[in-house]
């Protein structure tokens, strides 16, 4: 069973609490348990939303909505497993992201952008803390393009595939845990992962061998 390291007081004495215990406490709207879940999942949901939306203002709105739904609806969560929690939260996030994208699409239809400005505007607000990227305009531009393509590629995946890919690469979940959360056999989840990554590779235009030549470099 996976354990969380928990600080129990300001002096730093440490005990451990299982994820299962935290979920159970959160179901009764225990403030500290909810905050613990939030702190655990925030980077995952934020990165997922950023990949899909690319605009920090939209992302912050969506992420806020996701976690407020989490607080409101945690009692509906039927699992105590971390992978199941992520799957549940990612499905909420997918719904919020889809709604935000529809809203953006409607606004774009109403407002005619000047040629060449829309793409750069969308990702202009992406906040990358990697200083090596921020200090290198060329790499930063390339990263923004990659992020935009990644967002589009992710959007082309099925809900299950998105949950698996995000759970695997952003939340660090094991195949077996994801399988349990999704009610599938581990082999089936591996197949879904394989297909999802293949689809991503196609959308990103990755060719065999190009990925080995350097980080972020594509054919």
């Amino acid at each position: 069973m996976r354990h969380w390291e928990v600080i129990t007081d300001n002096r730093g004495s440490v005990t451990t609490t299982t994820f299962e215990q935290v979920i159970k406490q959160a179901r009764s709207h225990d403030e500290e348990a909810l905050v613990a879940l939030y702190q655990r999942a925030l980077p995952v949901i934020y990165r997922f939303a950023m990949a899909r939306l690319g605009r920090s203002d939209l992302v912050e709105d969506v992420v806020s909505e996701v976690f407020l739904v989490m607080v409101e609806s945690i009692s509906d969560l039927r699992t105590e497993q971390e992978a199941g929690f992520y799957a549940w939260l990612l499905q909420i996030a997918q719904g919020k992201i889809s709604r935000a994208l529809r809203h953006v699409t409607r606004n774009n239809k109403r407002h005619i952008s000047l040629p060449g400005t829309q793409k750069s505007d969308k990702y202009a607000a992406v906040e990358l803390m990697a200083t090596d990227l921020a200090s290198n305009p060329v790499e930063l531009h390339e990263w923004r393009e990659t992020l935009e393509e990644l967002g589009l590629a992710l959007g082309s995946l099925s809900t299950e595939q998105q949950v698996i890919v995000i759970g695997r690469f952003l939340a660090g979940q094991k195949i077996e845990d994801l399988a349990q959360a999704l009610g599938k056999q581990p082999g089936a989840v591996r197949v879904l992962q394989f297909r999802a990554l293949n689809a991503l590779a196609k959308h990103l235009g990755l060719a065999r061998g190009s990925w080995r030549s350097g980080k972020g470099e594509r054919a």
Binding site: E31, E32, V35, Y38, L42, F169
Partner: protein, 343 residues
């Protein structure tokens, strides 16, 4: 091993971050390349300001949900992950909440203590203020009358306690004054009710508590000093009891050197006693409901002011003050039975 398992093993080994790994299958290679790009998402950092704001929102929402559900706030403890940020602002809030909790506990303690305080105690004023607060916020005349009656009952208990505990005259007098004031207020509150069943019910409650008050005062008459006895008698008179009153006293010197004291008033009972300055004195020779005649030794009477009183067998008493400079004098007493040098 199939391609899916092979890919997963490479992912487990985080092989997509390694630059030169020979992968025979194109699909596996492409998938690893996609995984590598995808893993770059982990370079995106969450803006701390946004994270802080959202955490505060979550805490606020959690608290409001607990309040909506009628539950109690969970005890303060941290379940945050090791290494996660802990904000100074939260500590300030925690300290403020702890101070507020201590103050609240102290207030509750003081209020609880004041609820058990008695006349003469330091917290009795707070208890009175609580009573007044309750009356102020009674939302209709019936509730106000009910509250007044409850408070009269409470003050009667206090009076009984201070007498039984043998507290000082000041504490007993304060308790009695409070009972007297509550009695007047109760009567006023019930009288203010519109005629009807509610008023009848309140009147029954009032009659019951007034009977209780009467019994309490009578019961305790024998446990109190003379000045307090006079005050108890006065309150019994206010309740409508037939208590003695003294309106006049005349002191005359007899041929044999004795003094003849004639006290005029009302409600004197057979076997009533003469009291001079709060002490039994002389011998009663004749008693009627309106007059008491007694003789005392001349040596027991010195020039100056003296309180001349009557005590009935049931313990009620009244007196009048005489200022005597010679052996043949009389004085018109006040109708109040409690008047006297010690009073």
């Amino acid at each position: 091993m199939n391609h899916e398992e092979y890919l997963d093993r490479l992912i487990e080994r985080r092989a997509y971050t390694e630059v030169h790994i020979p992968v025979a299958n194109d699909e596996v290679a492409s998938s690893l390349a996609a995984a590598e790009v995808f893993a770059q998402l982990q370079e995106i950092e969450v803006p701390p300001g946004f994270a802080n704001r959202l955490e505060l929102s979550i805490r606020s929402r959690a608290r409001s949900l607990i309040e909506q559900n009628g539950g109690t706030m969970p005890s303060e403890r941290s379940l945050s992950l090791a290494g996660s940020q802990r904000f100074p602002k939260r500590r300030v809030w925690t300290a403020a909440l702890r101070i507020a909790a201590v103050l609240m506990v102290a207030c509750v303690g003081v209020l609880t203590a004041s609820a058990h305080s008695l006349p003469g105690d330091a917290l009795y004023g707070l208890k009175q203020a609580e009573h007044q607060f309750t009356l102020t916020f009674a939302n209709n005349p019936q509730n106000r009358a009910s509250a007044q009656i409850d408070q009269l009952r409470s003050t009667l208990v206090d009076l009984g306690t201070v007498v039984n505990d043998g507290r000082g005259d000041d504490a007993i007098r304060l308790a009695l004054d409070t009972v007297a004031a509550r009695t007047i207020a109760c009567r006023g509150a019930v009288a203010a009710l519109p005629a009807g069943s509610e008023r009848e019910t309140a009147q029954q409650d009032l009659n019951s508590i007034l009977t209780e008050e009467e019994q309490t005062l009578h019961h305790q008459l024998d446990q109190v000093d003379w000045p307090i006895r006079l005050a108890f008698t006065r309150q019994l008179g206010a309740l409508g009891d037939p208590v003695p009153t003294v309106t006049n006293a005349v002191v005359r010197t007899q041929i044999n050197g004795m003094l003849l004291i004639t006290i005029t008033g009302s409600h004197f009972m057979l076997q009533a006693e003469l009291f001079i300055d709060g002490r039994p004195a002389g011998m009663v020779s004749r008693t009627t409901p309106d007059q008491l005649v007694a003789v005392i030794n001349n040596t027991a009477w010195s020039p100056g002011a003296h309180a001349v009183g009557v005590r009935n067998p049931d313990g009620t008493a009244a007196q009048v003050v005489l200022n005597v400079n010679n052996n043949n004098h009389s004085r018109q007493g006040t109708p109040e039975p409690g008047e006297g040098p010690d009073d």
